[in-house]
């Protein structure tokens, strides 16, 4: 990557604004409520944009592009089925309890609704998860910066060894995120997430437009992709059976697993996104936040999936960069790209990090490095100038994901671990100080995670697997807690344990087709083979959810529920409906929700 002064100017301008916002907001932080909850004073549109931006980390931008290149338009299910309905659900039905209960975090809601041990379990697993996720985000960014040779020229000029680029990238991004959160807390994180949202759109929209123009518009892309694999141009066609769609999933796994369990589990219970809605100024705004977020979210498939899909249609391999960790083994750039040892379009073959040779699967076909789809598109289409903007957008996405994790961590650590278990009843100033230092501690732990990932390549996969076990059953607990006053604390706690155990057991007993036993599953015995890892993942979530649900209901029947007076504001049947009559009909959450769902249906029909 050849960056010139203009590119650096754009990057540095962005960094300057990010830090300046932190300094501007410093004066506003007087109490711990200002720091952790943005004073509960932000307008809905700001929180709404931050709501999607917090999730728009590296995994999203790079991962959705990769998935687009691998599976095609079917990836849009993560939006149409996975995200949109869940966002509508949390806005209409769950936000009244989150916001109305005055809980300061999602684990604290569990404490109010159930008991201390359910909160403790959730707070501990969540805190660990956020630290590792932001570490993974950092690691991915540093790897990408290395692979794109962003700082190589700079380092050569300064006479520094190229091996230090990894450290430099990590320390730089960590220092910036730390600075603006340390100063301005959640407000600063949210403001910057809005800035990052606009930047991501500004960086990726021209990429999609250029890519589409190059293949001759939508119809040109349709014919180019169809020539490679006709199934990739359809989101819904062939979804009834696993063998007729590229992801290898069926309707039940998709609807139940992705939509009901995983999507709802993430968007409705993860404090990473919920914290932005809980920072808004009143109940009406809080309920509108996820709904406002759903509007741009609908169009995000076009922004993040299309670059991947367009990448496979590019025929020349000019400006292409092979996967991370590759220095010498560059693919011959001039030769035809149809051979079996070549990549597909702009997607390079994955290289073994140790030997530097191409990697092959069990059938002798080369494994493609789909994660390079979106970055290679940037290099392919962007001349210097706008390339700086594209790079900034990429960096912004990494930082927004990291910042969301860090603010979620410092809040849960201070309110749900430090305050109840380490030091009760201290002054507000004390907790504010603890929150600031928890930010520092969280970022240091993330850096440690990023470094651990270099030495133990599998640590990331293992961690993400463990998180999926913990997360899969969560939605059942919240559903039972908010909609049945009979559910007890013992029921919720044992349900969570049972759900996680079920997820683990399922993973240990099943295996996706063509995968080896071990990290991909089947480490106990192989009872069932799924057509794809996606299918295994979705069905695992269904089992975890079901186990949690059944165990929680059964245990609740034999234990004593909380008295009804204590559940007012926490359970549906005991909470007065939030007042809406003061709003014009089109401003009510239901109207907005209906419009969002209608839009999602239309978009799905267009991509069908």
């Amino acid at each position: 990557m050849n960056l010139t002064a203009v590119d650096w100017f754009v990057v540095i301008l962005y960094f300057a604004f990010v830090v300046a916002i932190g300094f501007l907001l410093k004066r506003r932080i007087k109490t711990s409520k200002d720091f952790f909850q943005a004073g509960r004073s932000l307008p809905a549109w700001i929180c709404g944009l931050a709501f999607i931006s917090a999730n728009l980390g590296a995994q999203e931008v790079i991962g959705m592009g990769a998935s687009g290149a691998k599976y095609g338009l079917e990836t849009a299910h993560f939006y149409g089925i996975g995200a949109i309905p869940a966002m509508v659900f949390v806005g209409i039905f769950m936000m009244p309890f989150y916001y109305g209960s005055k809980a300061r975090s999602v684990p604290e809601f569990l404490q109010l609704r159930f008991d201390e041990k359910t909160r403790g379990l959730n707070a501990c697993s969540f805190a660990v998860m956020t630290v590792f996720s932001s570490g993974i985000s950092m690691y991915a960014m540093a790897r990408l910066i290395q692979a794109l040779h962003v700082f190589d020229g700079l380092f050569r000029k300064a006479g520094l060894p190229q091996g230090e680029i990894f450290t430099f990238a990590i320390v730089l991004s960590a220092a910036i995120v730390l600075l603006y959160i340390f100063l301005g807390g959640l407000t600063s994180a949210i403001y910057n997430e809005v800035l990052q949202f606009f930047l991501i759109v500004a960086g990726f929209l021209p990429l999609v437009l250029l890519g589409l123009k190059n293949v001759g518009g939508w119809s040109g892309m349709r014919s180019a992709v169809t020539a490679i694999d006709p199934r990739m141009m359809h989101e819904w066609k062939g979804v009834m059976h696993a063998s007729t769609n590229p992801m290898g999933i069926d309707m039940i796994g998709l609807g139940m697993g992705l939509g009901f369990v995983l999507g709802a589990g993430y968007w409705c219970t993860d404090f990473l996104v919920i914290q932005t809605a809980m920072a808004s100024r009143d109940m009406d705004s809080a309920r509108r936040v996820p709904l406002i977020a759903a509007v741009p979210k609908m169009f995000f498939p076009l922004l993040v999936i299309l670059p991947g899909l367009l990448a496979i249609t590019v025929t020349s391999s000019q400006g292409q960069i092979t996967g991370p960790q590759v220095h010498s083994a560059v693919l011959s750039p001039g030769s035809a790209s149809s051979g079996t040892t070549e990549g597909r379009g702009l997607i390079p073959v994955k290289m073994n990090p140790v030997t530097g040779k191409p990697m092959y699967d069990a059938n002798g076909n080369p494994i493609l490095d789909y994660d390079m789809a979106t970055p290679n598109m940037l290099l392919h289409y962007f001349p210097t100038g706008i390339l700086g903007l594209g790079l900034t957008a990429l960096l912004a996405s990494f930082m927004s994901g990291m910042a969301g994790n860090v603010t979620a961590f410092n809040t849960v650590f201070t309110y749900d671990l430090y305050q109840p278990y380490m030091r009760r009843g201290a002054s507000d100033r004390h907790y504010l100080l603890v929150g600031r230092w928890a930010t520092v501690g969280g970022i240091l732990l993330s850096i440690a995670t990023a470094y651990a990932a270099i030495n133990f390549n599998n640590i990331m996969d293992t961690l993400q697997l463990v998180f999926s076990f913990v997360n899969a059953p969560l939605f059942a607990t919240f559903l039972l807690g908010m909609f049945s006053k009979r559910t007890t604390g013992h029921g919720a706690f044992s349900g969570l344990i049972a759900g996680t155990a079920a997820a683990m057991l399922h993973h240990g007993l099943t295996l996706p087709a063509e995968a080896l036993r071990g990290i991909h599953g089947g480490w106990i015995a192989v009872f069932h083979r799924y057509p794809s890892d996606m299918a295994q993942n979705f069905y695992g979530a269904i089992y975890a959810f079901t186990a949690n649900f059944i165990v929680a209901v059964v245990v609740s029947m034999f234990t004593k529920p909380k008295p009804e007076v204590e559940l007012v504001g926490l359970v549906h049947s005991l909470t007065p409906k939030p007042a809406e009559s003061h709003l014009a009909w089109w401003k009510r959450p239901q109207a907005l929700a209906a419009a969002v769902l209608l839009g999602a249906v239309v978009l799905n029909l267009l991509l069908a």
């Binding site: 203009v6 100017f9 754009v10 301008l13 962005y14 604004f17 300046a20 916002i21 501007l24 907001l25 506003r28 700001i46 403001y191 809005v194 800035l195 606009f198 500004a202 021209p206 250029l210 123009k213 190059n214 400006g319 392919h380 289409y381 962007f382 001349p383 100038g385 706008i386 903007l389």
Partner: protein, 94 residues
Amino acid sequence: MDIDLRLPVGLMFSLTGLILAAFGLFTNGVAGFYSKSLGININLWWGLVLLIFGGLMALLGLLRQLELSRIAAIQEARNRMRTMAPRRDYGPLH
């Protein structure tokens, strides 16, 4: 007093747009410079788009900011009058 977020967002995008558009003008017609972007001077065009977007945001933010400071000024004047004038009981009319 709060800052309206549209102001910094607008400012940043105006500046970015300005840099890109200026660079686009400067490199306009340089042979081969825009071969990557299909011969389109993407810096100029996208710079202008960002400039318009940023300008609009900054304008909206500025208007709101002015309104906020006017409200704050009125509030302050009221407070000052209240503290300056000794409080007298004007009876039920007041």
